[in-house]
């Protein structure tokens, strides 16, 4: 069974065997010398109303997956379904129609807002483009959206530079919500914000999800934020999904050695807890997605890798309760996690 066939109802979003290679060119004639294997055979499903957290380090391909789903980049191979309909390689007009259903919020709210437009113009633009509202109706809807995201009505006449990072991210959220989408890709939405502001935006995103019945794909590298906001979590490593599980299952019973290492690497802001923890410190660097390692991509850093891992690529297998992992050792131990350190990876908070 693969993640795409588990469960009965049709998922809102489904990604089947998706690949995206970006060519690397060099030299006088821009000769094609290699490919960046950004996404390398990914299967994923997102249920209506849930938040799927997608985590991974640099170059894992998590951002590319978000962009592929939105048709912002075209896949090299594979298919993407939205409400059961194939939305891979749509025509321009169809893409535009699709954007009324799905939107994206970016990491850097400053770079993604036009500095020469007022907030009212920024939030109102999608309404005009999609023919949702005209004239006075635009202003009414903009005002409604601005207040929905916790800004004040008088903010519509201001420019992005007049806002703080957290407020700018609110503007980005209001713009995404303008077309009344059902699905939103959030690409590191709080990573650029001050710690004290992060919580404000996370709470807002949770409130909006509940009020508007939104489905989120929440892309982040911060596993603490992901645990807080997600229902299920998928972990990526160099273009592949290595583990998918319901949130608490993933954090309390991580199967894949990479997930275990990742979780154990995050320091917890409590010295007493930190003093009791053992840490798995991986050796080496994250491999380049231009020349990903053979077999299991994690074998170059995995403390428990053996010969099979170098030769053969592990499949993402189901071990019950919606918990999937791609690891030969987990398979050979019939779903038992390899133990890399004594005791739990994440000591549950008291």
């Amino acid at each position: 069974m693969t993640p795409s066939t588990a469960g009965a109802q049709t998922p809102l979003v489904e990604v089947q065997d998706l690949y995206k290679y970006f060519p690397v060119r060099a030299g006088l004639f821009s000769r094609h010398i290699a490919d960046v294997h950004a996404v390398d055979g990914v299967n994923l499903r997102i249920k209506a109303g849930e938040t799927l957290g997608l985590v991974g380090e640099s170059g894992s391909g998590k951002t590319t997956i978000g962009r592929l789903i939105l048709n912002l980049v075209r896949p090299t191979k594979g298919a993407i379904f939205f409400r059961g309909r194939n939305i891979t390689n749509l025509r321009r007009r169809e893409v535009r129609a699709l954007r009324r259903e799905m939107q994206i919020i970016f990491q850097d709210p400053y770079a993604s807002l036009n500095p020469r437009m007022t907030v009212g113009e920024i939030v109102g633009e999608p309404l005009r483009i999609h023919g949702i509202a005209r004239g006075a109706a635009v202003a009414r809807r903009v005002d409604e959206l601005i207040r929905l995201v916790g800004l004040r009505s008088y903010h519509v006449n201001r420019y992005p530079h007049e806002f703080s990072g957290g407020q700018r991210q609110r503007v980005g959220i209001a713009r995404a919500l303008a077309v009344n989408p059902t699905f939103i890709v959030l690409d590191e939405p709080v990573s650029a914000l001050d710690v004290s502001i992060q919580a404000q935006v996370i709470n807002l995103l949770e409130d909006l999800q509940e009020q508007l019945g939104l489905t989120y794909l929440f892309i982040a590298h911060d596993l603490s934020v992901i645990r807080h906001i997600s229902n299920r979590v998928a972990v990526m490593y160099v273009g592949k999904i290595v583990e998918v599980a319901p949130r608490d299952e993933l954090y309390e019973n991580p199967l894949h050695p990479y997930t275990q290492s990742l979780l154990s690497a995050i320091p917890i802001p409590e010295p007493a807890v930190e003093a009791r923890r053992k840490r798995i410190v991986l050796t080496g660097d994250i491999p380049s997605p231009v020349h990903p390692p053979s077999g299991c991509r994690f074998h170059t850093r995995c403390p428990v890798a053996y010969d099979r891992c170098i030769k053969e690529e592990p499949a993402l297998l189901h071990y019950g309760n919606g918990h999937f992992a791609a690891c030969h050792l987990v398979e050979e131990q019939s779903g038992r996690a390899p133990s890399l350190i004594e005791g739990p990876i994440v000591v549950p908070a008291s």
């Binding site: 004290s196 992060q198 645990r227 608490d248």
Partner: protein
């Protein structure tokens, strides 16, 4: 380090380093301290390494400058330092340029440079913020080991409270350009006194928390440094704000070295009632 541009006036009475006032040092005296006795590493190793010099030349430069070492001595020292920060195949990699190193390896090179002269103090400014978490774990472990081996004091500047909990013995919390709380890591994390410190800890999502309770954010925005309030800089966002907070606030001592800049612990505050917190004024139209 006295590295700020001329328009930054340091108004301290003194900056004491091993009993000496750094503010009274001449520029040439400072040059003998910088790099040799106090070293610094920065957040982004790519912008702090010279892209047209090999890594070996950059590490050797400080040793030659401060100790008058010969080329070959300095080169051997560079190899030794790269091995110390666990760069594999150190001798070969000495002749490579910074762009040939990964982010984590570049930060190791920075640490090797900083430690090459055996400084008494290492100032690390967000040393792992630009790194992935598995690489961050490597660098933090390295810094811990090096401190154990060499006894170098470290000032770690960071916004990541998890990193603080993992590596620091003492913690100084700053807000709006001012020290607001200081204590041991245990005092700061387990019994924070300043509402700002309390708010920061409450607003963090936790890796080890199962229940999906709502986060408690700090209201408002960080202060504008051009226009700081006369009293407590945190007062506009503070849930316990009282009229007395608009006057300059002293540090209160909680014993065991734990101090906090908050009027809540003043007897005068007992007679005052908290005032309604207003929302922070938003940026003005320019």
């Amino acid at each position: 380090m006295r590295l700020l541009p001329r328009n930054a006036a340091a108004t301290a009475d003194a900056i004491l380093f091993a009993g000496d006032d750094l503010l009274r040092k001449s520029e040439s005296e400072m040059r003998r301290i910088r790099g040799r006795r106090i070293a610094m590493i920065f957040q982004d190793p790519m912008t702090s390494l010279n892209p047209v010099l090999t890594v070996g030349e950059q590490i050797a430069e400080a040793v030659r400058l401060h100790f008058g070492a010969s080329r070959s001595e300095a080169r051997n020292r560079a190899v030794e330092m790269l091995e110390k920060v666990r760069v594999p195949e150190a001798r070969q990699r000495l002749d490579e340029y910074p762009h040939q190193f990964s982010g984590g390896m570049r930060q190791r090179v920075m640490i090797a440079m900083a430690l090459s002269c055996g400084p008494e103090l290492l100032i690390a400014d967000e040393p792992t913020t630009a790194l992935d978490v598995t690489i961050q774990a490597q660098i933090l472990e390295l810094m811990n080991e090096i401190q154990r081996e060499t006894g170098t004091a470290i000032i770690l500047i960071t916004h990541d409270l998890g990193v603080v909990a993992e590596v620091c013995a003492n913690v100084l919390v700053m807000y709006g350009g001012n020290l607001v709380e200081y204590g041991t890591a245990t005092q700061i994390f387990e019994a924070p006194r300043m509402p700002y410190t309390q708010g920061l800890l409450a607003s963090l999502p936790r890796l080890d928390k199962r229940d999906r309770t709502r986060l408690v954010p700090i209201k408002g925005q960080p202060p504008n440094l051009l226009n700081l309030p006369a009293g407590c800089a945190f007062a506009p966002r503070c849930a316990y704000r009282m009229p007395i907070c608009d006057e300059p606030v002293a540090l209160y001592d909680f014993g065991g070295g734990h101090v906090a800049r908050c009027v809540l612990y003043d007897d005068a505050a007992a007679t005052q009632r908290p005032i309604e917190v207003e929302t922070v004024p938003l940026a003005k139209k320019s």
